[in-house]
């Protein structure tokens, strides 16, 4: 960790002890039902709190349309990482490099003689209507059209040539659309049952969600290096990314947030 920054790595490049720390943090969070726990933080995104920003929305309710998909999720996974490190100071959020499918870190059902906390989590939402009390589900690539797939590295690299933030983030074929596709592919549908990554309500309960968004965040960072750290519509800058204590301008520089991405292939 240079200059006190956390160095985020690709999940399949983690050392044995690094992966063990990640698993330890997730396992501990999954055992907590208070506001330190896995269900609490997953519930910020979908059921029951629904804070997340996707596509375009308005602030205030009748104001102009904004697309805060990238800034909001950067704030979200930063808070997630803090909560994670509260449970294990050696844990660092890694990114999922999509191009090779789902890494074994997330598909192994057991690790070290215990259930793998990166494979699934338990959703406990007794106050949802209807209540939810089950393990997460994942049917990657099943029951979805061929157009719903993982991207190629070339498709992602082409995004770096989009010079305007809104075109890069939310335009046709932009990063959010690629993100949507990966959610659909990862969740999948089997026998009429949808995987949890496929919808906003339950996506963050799947342990792979966090590394999916770490990859999204990293791609935005690489784009920023080419197109400007402050490349953002001016009217977005002071929008508050509730429920987090950040405005959009506060999350533009990842070094100011205390982390960096390890050098590696796109």
């Amino acid at each position: 960790m240079a200059n006190g920054l956390i160095l985020r790595k690709r999940v399949d490049a983690l050392s044995g002890p690094e992966l063990a720390a990640l698993r330890n943090a997730y396992a501990k969070m999954q055992g907590l039902m208070d506001n330190r726990g896995y269900n609490y933080w997953a519930g910020v995104h979908g059921i029951p709190q629904h804070y997340c920003w996707h596509h375009s929305s308005r602030l205030p309710r009748t104001g102009p349309t904004l697309n805060l998909f990238l800034p909001w999720h950067r704030a979200y996974i930063k808070y997630w990482e803090l909560a994670m490190r509260d449970q294990d100071q050696n844990a660092v959020l890694p990114w999922w490099r999509w191009y090779g499918g789902i890494p074994t870190a997330f598909t192994d059902q057991n690790a070290g003689g215990n259930p793998n906390p990166l494979y699934k989590a338990h959703i406990s939402r007794p106050n949802a209507n209807p209540p939810i009390n089950r393990d997460t589900r994942r049917f990657p690539g099943q029951g979805v059209p061929p157009s719903v797939r993982l991207p190629t590295s070339g498709e992602v690299a082409s995004l770096y040539n989009r010079t305007q933030f809104l075109d890069f983030s939310g335009g046709p074929g932009g990063l959010e659309e690629i993100h949507d596709n990966i959610h659909g592919w990862t969740g999948g549908i089997s026998g009429g049952v949808g995987g949890d990554m496929g919808v906003v309500a339950t996506a963050a309960y799947d342990p792979i969600f966090w590394s999916h968004h770490c990859m999204i965040d990293r791609i935005w960072y690489i784009w920023q290096l080419k197109n400007g750290i402050n490349n953002m519509p001016p009217e977005y800058m002071d929008v508050i990314l509730a429920p987090f204590r950040y405005r959009v301008r506060d999350v533009l520089d990842i070094h100011a947030l205390g982390y960096e991405y390890a050098v590696g292939a796109a």
Binding site: G46, I47, P48, H50, Y51, C52, H54, H55, S56, S57, R58, L59, P60, R61, T62, G63, T65, R125, A128, N129, P130, I132, G143, V144, P145, S147, V148, G171, P172, G173, E177, H179, D180, N181, H183, G184, G187, I189, G194, G195, M197, G198, V199, V200, A201, T202, A203, A242
Partner: protein, 161 residues
């Protein structure tokens, strides 16, 4: 798995510029993201299109957009009802309802120009192919509002000395 399709009112092709444009988008308003996740396959002048229709120019395929939906309502009665007619309140700092319908678009330059060059009116049909759902998802009624598709042409950039 597909939901009910949406087909627009006819749009006059005469109003669409065919020359000196660099890009043509089809923009959609009021796209519901409270329910299913889906791929919205956009067809021009093909109201009979469905999820089995080949994505070819001959079938009027213009492109797809993707919606990451909430999956349906898991709240109490009224939780996911959005009051889109709510009057502006300068003292209300809250963001819009998370289930507020969204705006999206597809880039459809070739498809629009090809169809417009044939003259007459253009209809826009969207076939929602389901990509994510829960037990609370209404997979049939994916579109709850008129999408008011709008064809937007961007002029070529003018070079200056």
């Amino acid at each position: 798995m597909q939901g009910n399709t949406y087909t627009s009112q006819p749009i006059s092709a005469a109003e669409i510029p065919l020359e000196d444009v660099s890009r043509v988008d089809i923009e959609f308003q009021q796209v519901d993201d409270a329910g299913a996740s889906f791929e919205g396959r956009v067809f021009l002048n093909n109201p009979e299109a469905d999820e089995n229709t080949d994505l070819t120019p001959e079938n009027g395929y213009a492109g797809s957009f993707f919606i990451f939906g909430h999956g349906g309502c898991f709240g109490d009665e009224g939780h996911c009802e959005v009051d889109t007619e709510r009057a502006f309140d300068p003292y209300d700092p809250r963001r819009s309802h998370p289930m507020t319908p969204v705006e999206t678009s597809v880039e459809a330059t070739e498809a629009v120009q090809r169809t417009a060059s044939e003259g007459g009116d253009i209809t826009v049909t969207v076939v929602p192919v389901i990509t994510g759902l829960t037990e609370q998802t209404d997979v049939e009624n994916v579109f709850k509002h008129d999408l008011h598709p709008r064809i937007v042409a961007y002029e070529l950039e003018v070079e200056t000395a």
